[in-house]
């Protein structure tokens, strides 16, 4: 059973590191966190964990940080927020970790914030939308490249492209799942819509466990929107894309904030059904040239992911999970200490060089400028995975520095 093996092997890795360290008579540098290893977001959580473990191995192979070997101490938060306070209290009080990072998703980042604030810990977090807007904590950092206003920056690319269409769209349909991320993404989209003066002809959400999405798509079609913005999680991303194809949605642009098509399982599942969908990606082989060194990381990642039954592409979270740890590593090395105040100050001031490019943080801990890629899928044929591993099926539309092509519109013409 591969998951059992993964548990055993990660335990073994931790043990081996610990033994190696004790042989050196030096305390290991412990980094603690909770991660979704079970529950609805476990697919992402496990992928992120693999990336972080690869980072730990890479760092230790080069002698560790400040002469100490790195050890990851983590627990399964079950994608359940109520486990988070206990986990982080244990990490800090019992395991006495030197540094903490977050789990994956707003759901599990927010409950940890009071503890971080009480103990003045520097807190690097992994893909939470807008968590710090309520807390205004000056030692919070976010590795998601959504820009200083994440909920808004998330859909920036989509609406920029949409307004670049000729003639300009007038009406928009907003739809998404009743869950934390889609709700926030839709809120961000509404900000854009208001600013751009678009008319909202449909604005509804659906329960995540909906079985049949075609009534929803038909209701959307009945309003004849120029563009359709969808924010969804993997199961409903698949359901909506299928329904859109079955009903034959006619609109100029469709997509925006679908979580799911970044992963191998949905790409192989949906295959050509994805043609024409505009979406966000954090990485794609088309832009590999802009991300040196990412190739070797991805090869390492993909080998392990396949063995552990986790997303074999690794284009979504893993590069950023790795980058998150690189930022910490560079901050520690530069300040020469583990003092939380010094680390936080350094991280606010300087720019970091990571596998995902240069990283700079804004005052609220988010990225100073958004860098989510807005892409359109095209030319997908069949349901194999190989076609996605090389460039060719994804056109990068934005940001301009990374663009490889322009959007093909209207949406339904992409089906031919």
């Amino acid at each position: 059973m591969s998951t059992l093996k993964s548990w055993l092997s990660s335990g073994l890795v931790a043990l081996v590191i610990a033994f190696a360290v004790s042989a050196q008579a030096q305390q290991p540098l412990k980094i603690g966190f909770g991660m979704s290893l079970t529950g609805p977001l476990a697919g992402n959580g496990k992928a992120a964990l693999i990336a972080m473990q690869i980072w730990a191995e890479d760092v230790n192979a080069k002698g560790g940080i400040l002469g100490r070997k790195v050890e990851l101490v983590f627990y399964d938060d079950q994608t359940n927020p109520s486990t988070v306070p206990s986990i982080y209290n244990k990490l800090l009080d019992v395991d006495k970790v030197d540094l903490v990072v977050s789990g994956y998703g707003t759901n599990v980042i927010a409950p940890a914030m009071p503890i971080m604030m009480q103990r003045n810990m520097c807190f690097m977090s992994l893909f939470g939308l807008n968590v710090n807007s309520k807390f205004n904590y000056d030692r919070y950092f976010q590795i998601m490249p959504a820009g200083p206003e994440p909920a808004v920056g998330w859909s920036q690319g989509y609406f920029d492209i949409a307004m670049g269409l000729n003639p300009k769209p007038q009406t928009v349909a907003l739809v998404g799942a009743d869950a934390e991320y889609p709700a926030l993404a839709l809120e961000g989209a509404r900000t854009h819509v208001k600013k751009l003066g678009l008319k909202v002809v449909y604005d509804k959400t659906y329960p995540p466990n909906t079985v049949d999405f075609s009534p929803i798509v038909r209701a959307i079609q009945a309003t004849n929107p120029d563009i359709v913005f969808l924010a969804s999680y993997p199961p409903d991303s698949a359901g909506m894309v299928r329904a859109v194809n079955e009903v034959g949605l006619k609109t100029r642009m469709f997509g925006g904030g679908l979580v799911g098509p970044q992963f191998a399982s949905l790409r192989t599942q949906l295959g050509p059904l994805l043609n024409g969908v505009v979406n966000y990606e954090s990485y794609s082989p088309e832009v590999a040239a802009k991300y040196p060194f990412l190739d070797q990381f991805l090869t390492k990642y993909q080998g392990r992911a396949i063995k552990e039954g986790v997303d074999p592409l690794g284009f979504y979270l893993p590069p950023y999970a790795y980058a998150m740890m690189q930022v910490l590593e560079q901050a520690i090395k530069a300040t020469g200490s583990l003092d939380q105040a010094q680390l936080a100050e350094y991280m606010h001031k300087y720019e970091f060089d990571t596998y995902v490019g240069k990283v700079r943080f804004a005052k609220n801990g988010e990225w100073s400028a958004p860098r989510m890629l807005t892409v359109q899928y095209h030319g997908v044929a069949g349901n194999d995975l190989e076609q996605w591993m090389k460039p060719g099926k994804v056109t990068v539309l934005a940001p301009a520095a990374y663009a490889t092509g322009t959007v093909q519109t209207p949406y339904q013409d992409n089906k031919k």
Partner: protein, 317 residues
């Protein structure tokens, strides 16, 4: 033992537990124990309707979440202090229990169970669509940086509150169990038709039981938003609350107030330990196995085991 004496003892123990905040520096202890205490309240509350009266409630999460969201709503609109929030949440949940009971307790037990399931889904959908309390986006409640009453951390205050709530729930449950009401509930549990014929006011008693049970479950939920700083519907309505509030009395024994306490402490501690050691899907597996094992081997729970063991010992002549 008279109720008053018991209450005094219970609160004395509670005060000792609260005093631990001065002694133990380890915050993890308090967050872990908070969760176990929360389950003590839930299990005890569930047992009032489930064990004493014989009506299985699948929707514990609904009452729990109602308590949590009342806190969110009142905190956002009126910024009320904690004790008021707790009382308010308890009352609202109690009213919900009364309402649901009135609609459904006139049917056979199994229909009540299914209604509670339906109730949980309906309430969940309402909360998801209610923008003021955050809907699916979730709601943030920022813990005050300073803790009142001399606690060094706000988390300690929440822990203390939960200790008091647990003591309160147990005192109430025991009082009900030993009163005339408790006897009436037991009669309903054993044979409702016979009880009705014997003149027991079954409907009124059942409504009482449902109201108290719902109120206490809501009470357990009132501090959740402050404990997590962030609530969203899927977390508040999580299946684990429903499952645990059934499993714990089952494992501990459903006949008296001691059973849910034992079950909650046992199962709750096991879950907390597993969470930070084995830490993966095994947690759910263990709950499942424990459930099956206890239910097949120890049908009356741990209390039942103890009873049977006591009875099997030879009596002194």
């Amino acid at each position: 033992m008279r109720n008053r004496t018991f209450a005094v003892i219970a609160f004395a123990i509670a005060l000792v537990l609260i005093a631990l905040t001065r002694v133990i520096a380890n915050d993890y202890f308090f967050s872990a124990v908070y969760t176990v205490l929360q389950f003590i309240v839930l299990a005890t509350a569930w047992n009032i309707l489930g064990g004493y009266t014989g009506y299985v409630n699948f929707g514990s999460a609904a009452f729990f979440a109602v308590g949590a969201y009342t806190t969110v709503f009142l905190n956002k609109s009126l910024h009320l202090p904690l004790p008021v929030l707790i009382v308010a949440g308890t009352i609202v949940a109690g009213l919900l229990g009364l309402g649901v009971g009135y609609l459904t307790l006139r049917m056979r037990g199994v229909f009540f169970a299914i209604s509670t399931l339906a109730l949980a889904v309906v309430l969940f959908t309402f909360v998801v669509n209610w923008d003021y309390v955050g809907g699916a986006r979730g709601a943030y409640i920022i813990q005050p940086r300073e803790a009142p009453l001399g606690f060094s951390r706000y988390g300690h205050l929440l822990y203390a509150t939960m200790v008091l709530m647990a003591a309160f729930a147990i005192v109430v449950a025991r009082a009900i169990e030993r009163s005339v009401i408790g006897r009436g509930l037991a009669a309903i549990r054993d044979d409702e038709v016979a009880a009705e014929c014997a003149g027991v006011p079954t409907l009124r008693l059942k409504l009482f039981s449902a109201t108290v049970s719902g109120a206490l479950m809501g009470m357990a939920g009132t501090t959740l938003p402050l404990y997590l700083s962030y609530v969203e519907p899927t977390a508040a309505f999580n299946l684990s609350y429903a499952v645990n509030s059934i499993a714990m009395p089952l494992i501990g024994g459903m006949m008296s107030w001691l059973g849910p306490l034992i079950g909650a402490v046992l199962l709750g501690t096991v879950q907390q330990v597993v969470q930070v050691t084995i830490s993966s899907e095994w947690n759910l597996f263990i709950v499942g196995v424990l459930l099956v094992a206890f239910v097949t081997l120890a049908p009356n729970g741990i209390m039942g085991w103890v009873e049977a063991w006591r009875r099997s010992r030879p009596h002194p002549r």
